[in-house]
């Protein structure tokens, strides 16, 4: 190496390097100080500046929310493009000869009150380019205006249109509880709209502008991605039949025993038993999805307070109903609670004691667990004494010796209690679990109630609770739980997860996902299933069957009635129901109707439910292609003809409704073939001409002339003391209600 190549980096140079470093460090420090001052002095104003230019330079392109279709592709919910009219004051002032022409055109073409817009224009001629004149016009409405704007000759100018999508529900109230609705910012609330919100939502697009290096504005557009549509299992035809009869029921019984709706709630589910698809699900009172905050829909409901409990009159302690007079005074949280009760889906969100419809479950569990064979007989003396309590049958006079089938047919509590005793607490609770009671069904709807704390476990169930649970009192379930469990009883033991949506399609119509039926478990064997079907057929066809009135003309169906007491016991309030299926020999569909506290004097009559089932099935079974198998009586023929006429000429609808009581009443009093025997003393009672019930000469109670059930009966009596009548069921109060749908659970007085 050359000498000068190996020259060292001298001390002097090192010193200069240090100077250099210090200069650099000082400059860095200065820049940090600059950053600090910018942040400190201008932070807020710059933040506002950013937000304001965000609005000015870029516009969001709305996406189209996916549609909700019924099983045949009919639209249940869709989003339609609507147009907002925007006034560009600067452009109007600059381009128009007479700005008034534009305002007049708006007034004449669209009937908009333009005084506000005109005032705004006068005040902001120089600066404003964005003022919303009016919102949500359809294309047809704004089309003439668009032509005028394009027309160079006309003096209409300074306007443009902003797109928006509006959710439209062509059916109005149709399937309202199932569908749910959408808020103005496109997020779904309740039902399918909420559950499938992520699928239905798209991604908004954006047009944004920015200055390039030459300082001119450039625009780029990212198009919006539309949401996916869902095809539900709901059949709009079946759904509307169901809703028609729920509405009819309400018309018939509204303001009957007291002011208010025909019942607190009426719910109906129709399900395909072979795959868990829900064909129809409805409850009354309903609401209009296009106008969800319509207060008039609240009228007739029981008033809820701010904390979601039933309101009672402070002086008399009676229930308060929402009337036309007091509806406007409901405000704030209370209004929300009342609306929430209206909007939620009774069929999945409300838990109640199912009552006797659960008896087939009890029998099936007992047979399946081997506790009984199904050939046993039980002696019903009208009550059974368990743990010191007399637990009554609804027929206090006793049905005598009954087979298991007859026990189901006549809905005998005593027989069920014996069966449950035979099987024991462990088996009973095990089978409740197998039937998914206490568990969510995971149906694809938002708002399903949790009922895990509303049933007993093997560890906290004692003998008397086992006895009452055997006939469906003492635990709670939801309608969807019950019909899903029941479907597995009659389809050979296959428990399907109930579901509402069978297909998801994208905005161009291509299928993204097929949702297949989910078979979760085998609950019982085929043999047991066959036995249960036989028993349930007896309920409708048997001589003493409680569900005769559910049978539509020309068909044989099977099922089970339910008449459940509510809390507190003895309040005279009942949840009556019918859970059935058709055809009777090879069930295809299951139907469940629950009437929660019908607005009648004597509520404990399952006919309020069976008649609805009958009406619905009369129309639905032919629609489903299930043929009539039975001869029609003259009366039935006439009835069907009338129905035909009613369906063809809707005008007659109203005329007939004027005296529906008579038509139904006639059937109710239909004289049964007298078949008196020793133990059927109620058949000898005098019939009260007013109510149609027989009267027990000893007690003065009303008695069902066919089944012998005492109307307004108390199922249970405390043998020891009458004062502590509630103690027999004291355990009830320990069951805490945790269901989302139960807003009155911790209220002791709250009826179920």
């Amino acid at each position: 190496m050359k000498n000068n190549d190996r020259r060292k980096f001298t001390m002097k140079m090192q010193k200069k390097l240090m100077v250099l470093f210090l200069v650099v460090a000082a400059l860095f420090l200065f820049l940090i100080f600059r950053l600090y001052t910018i942040t400190r002095d201008n932070g807020d104003s710059y933040r506002r500046q950013i937000l304001s230019q965000q609005k000015y330079d870029s516009t969001v392109i709305p996406y189209k929310r996916g549609s909700i279709l019924d099983t045949n592709g009919s639209v249940l919910a869709s989003s339609e493009k609507v147009y907002n009219i925007i006034l560009d004051s600067v452009a109007l002032a600059k381009n128009a000869e007479n700005p008034e022409t534009t305002f007049q055109t708006l007034r004449t073409e669209l009937g908009i009150d333009v005084t506000k817009a005109r005032d705004y224009f006068e005040a902001n001629k120089e600066k404003s380019r964005y003022y919303v004149v009016a919102k949500k016009f359809t294309y047809d409405q704004v089309q003439p205006l668009m032509e005028l704007l394009d027309d160079k000759e006309s003096d209409v100018t300074g306007l443009w249109f902003e797109d928006e999508y509006q959710r439209v529900y062509p059916g109005g109230t149709l399937a309202c509880d199932v569908i749910g609705y959408t808020t103005s910012d496109n997020s779904g609330l309740y039902g399918l709209e909420q559950y499938y919100n992520a699928e239905l939502s798209g991604v908004p697009g954006r047009t944004y502008g920015y200055m390039n290096e030459e300082g001119s504005l450039e625009r780029t557009t990212v198009p919006a991605e539309d949401g996916n549509s869902i095809v539900t299992t709901i059949d709009a035809n079946i759904q509307s039949v169901v809703e028609k009869y729920l509405r009819k029921f309400n018309e018939q019984y509204a303001n009957n025993a007291h002011f208010g709706n025909g019942a607190n709630n009426v719910g109906c589910i129709i399900m395909n038993v072979h795959n868990g698809e829900v064909l129809a699900m409805a409850s009354y009172p309903d609401y209009d999805l296009n106008n969800v905050r319509d207060k008039s829909k609240l009228i007739g409901r029981q008033l809820l307070t701010e904390d979601g409990k039933y309101a009672y009159d402070e002086e008399t302690g009676t229930k308060i109903y929402i009337t036309e007079e007091n509806v406007d005074s409901i405000e704030g949280d209370a209004l929300y609670k009342n609306f929430d009760a209206l909007w939620k889906n009774y069929c999945i969100s409300d838990a109640y004691e199912p009552g006797s419809v659960s008896k087939p479950l009890t029998v099936a569990s007992a047979i399946e667990s081997g506790a009984i064979t199904g050939n046993e007989t039980y002696d019903c003396g009208g009550f059974l004494e368990i743990g010191g309590h007399k637990i009554h049958c609804h027929n206090r006079y006793g049905d005598g010796r009954l087979t298991v089938t007859e026990g189901v047919e006549r809905s005998c509590n005593v027989a069920m209690m014996h069966i449950a005793q035979a099987m024991g607490v462990r088996n009973f609770t095990k089978f409740q679990h197998i039937f998914n009671l206490g568990l969510k069904t995971n149906i694809d709807l938002s708002g399903e109630a949790r009922t895990n704390t509303l049933i007993y476990t093997a560890s906290n169930m004692n003998a008397s609770e086992l006895a009452t649970c055997s006939f469906g009192q003492g635990y709670n379930c939801t309608m969807i739980q019950m019909i899903s469990a029941f479907s597995s009883l009659i389809n050979g033991g296959y428990y399907y997860e109930p579901h509402m949506v069978k297909k998801i399609i994208n905005s161009s119509g291509a299928t993204i996902e097929n949702i297949e039926p989910r078979l979760l478990k085998q609950t019982i064997s085929q043999e047991t299933s066959n036995k249960i079907i036989e028993m349930c057929n007896q309920v409708v066809t048997g001589e003493y069957g409680t569900g005769k009135t559910a049978r539509p003309a020309g068909y044989i169906i099977g099922g089970k009635t339910g008449t459940a007491q509510t809390l507190p016991r003895g309040n005279g309030e009942y949840v009556v129901s019918f859970l059935g299926y058709a055809p009777y020999d090879d069930p295809e569909i299951a139907i469940y109707v629950v009437v929660d506290r019908p607005n009648v004097f004597a509520q404990d009559d399952a006919k309020y439910a069976t008649r609805i089932v009958r009406s619905i099935l009369t129309e639905v079974l032919p629609y489903l292609g299930i043929f009539q198998t039975e001869e029609l009586s003259e009366k039935e023929k006439k009835e069907l003809e009338e129905l035909q006429i009613e369906l063809i000429t809707p005008q007659r609808n109203e005329e007939e409704e004027e005296n529906p009581e008579n038509a139904e009443g006639g059937e109710e009093q239909q004289p049964e073939e007298p078949a008196p025997s020793n133990n059927e003393i109620w058949k000898t009672f005098k019939i009260d001409p007013v109510t149609g019930y027989a009267i027990d000469p000893n007690t003065g109670d009303y008695v069902d002339p066919v089944t012998g059930a005492t109307i307004g009966y108390k199922m249970e009596e405390n043998v020891q003391t009458d004062e502590n009548g509630n103690q027999t069921f004291s355990n009830e109060n320990n069951i805490k209600v945790a269901g989302e749908g139960s807003n009155n659970g911790e209220d002791e007085d709250a009826p179920w």
Binding site: T10, L20, L35, T39, D57, Y210, E213
Partner: protein, 384 residues
């Protein structure tokens, strides 16, 4: 470790600056993260791939790291021999822009070779470091005279002229000039001359600004307009002041803690070229003042490592190479942040290792390789 001890026995233990590499890696990784955050929107809008810029930058970075490794293992005296070749190569590349250059955003700065775009001005920065270091070693104490200084500056002048005339890229020209200035400053034992030069430059700049402001109306070209926009960005909000103003909005709106990584609003098309020269503004918006200070401190630490290595370099050539690299990085960082904060008029200077730009990152990493090569030849006994 065993290796180390044997080296120690031979008293030939090699010094290795782990801290330098660590800081470098931190800056690079942080840079890539921020680049992705800043450019994903632009990438998805213009190229349909949110990682478009990230992928390209990652490729360049990996390529640069490989070259860095190679250069680090080559003896740095090799560059003493190659210096003229490198210099002529830079000149050639600059000249090639005239026939083959690609015009992007109105400026002809790039040459495409086999699908890769190269910015010859970046090569010129490397060339001047390599060449000038050797020249200063040869000049020795002659540098202290005005004549010697002129000799030292001579090779820079044609490069600066070509960069400015051919590419119209004032900022690269300024950087080459500044590297020359700093190297001469460190090599000479004089302060006075350099102070005079600085004061003279400030005076010229002030005069220029004064003239521009005076002739406000009369078109002073786009540079004049930039000066005016610098003095009052709000008045030129829709023109030359737009980018600066938007950058200031970004910094101000970020506040002390920032909006969070990925949360910047200004990157959504409001700041043109946000992934290039203005990336620091978005960094301020997303990670706030605190985060920005952390970045600056990291750069300062990096520069401090250069000072340590230069001080301990085995010979003057090595030391000056390190000083050249150091000045290159320091100047770019300072100018970039100064532009973003509107401390100086807007001129396009990228932030080393963080801004998007393949040529820049490759050249910078090769320069780091040079520093590592110098640092490798430091013997332990040499360390002060």
């Amino acid at each position: 470790m065993a290796n180390r001890f044997t080296i120690l026995k031979n008293s030939k233990i090699r010094y290795f600056d782990t801290l330098l590499l660590l800081i470098l890696m931190l800056i690079i990784i942080f840079g890539l993260v921020m680049l992705y955050s800043v450019s994903s929107y632009d990438g998805s809008v213009n190229y349909g791939d949110s990682a478009y810029y990230l992928k390209r930058q990652l490729g360049a970075t990996v390529f640069g790291l490989i070259l860095m490794g190679i250069v680090a293992f080559l003896p740095y005296h090799l560059w003493e021999k190659l210096r003229v070749f490198v210099y002529l190569f830079a000149v050639l590349m600059l000249l090639l822009i005239i026939p083959f250059g690609t015009r992007v955003n109105g400026a002809k700065r790039w040459i495409y070779i086999g699908g890769v775009s190269i910015q010859p001005a970046e090569i010129a920065k490397f060339a001047i470091v390599v060449l000038l270091a050797q020249l200063l070693v040869r000049l020795g104490s002659k540098i202290n005279s005005w004549k010697g200084l002129l000799v030292a500056v001579a090779p820079s002048v044609p490069l600066i002229g070509m960069i400015y005339i051919i590419t119209g890229n004032l900022s690269s020209a300024i950087i080459v000039a500044a590297i020359t200035f700093v190297l001469c400053f460190v090599a000479s034992s004089d302060y006075k001359k350099f102070l005079i030069v600085i004061l003279a430059l400030i005076a010229i700049a002030a005069l220029y600004i004064f003239i521009v402001v005076k002739n406000n109306e009369g078109g002073m070209g786009f540079r004049g307009e930039r000066i005016l926009a610098w003095l009052d960005p709000d008045a030129y909000a829709s023109g030359k002041g737009y980018q600066t103003l938007q950058a200031l909005y970004a910094i101000g709106s970020g506040g002390f803690m920032g909006k969070g990584i990925g949360e910047s609003m200004q990157k959504l098309g409001y700041i043109p070229e946000a992934q290039n020269d203005m990336i620091f503004a978005i960094i301020c918006e997303e990670i706030g003042f605190i985060g920005a200070v952390c970045i600056i401190v990291m750069f300062l630490l990096l520069i401090w490592r250069f000072v340590i290595i230069a001080t301990n370099a085995p010979d003057l050539y090595g030391a000056l190479l390190v000083v050249g690299v150091m000045s290159h990085i320091a100047i770019q960082v300072i100018l970039n942040i100064a532009v973003v904060t509107n401390t100086i008029p807007n001129t396009g200077i990228s932030l080393p290792f963080i801004s998007y730009g393949g040529s820049s990152v490759v050249i910078l990493l090769i320069e780091i390789g040079l520093v590592l090569s110098v640092q490798r030849s430091i013997k332990y006994r040499d360390v002060v």
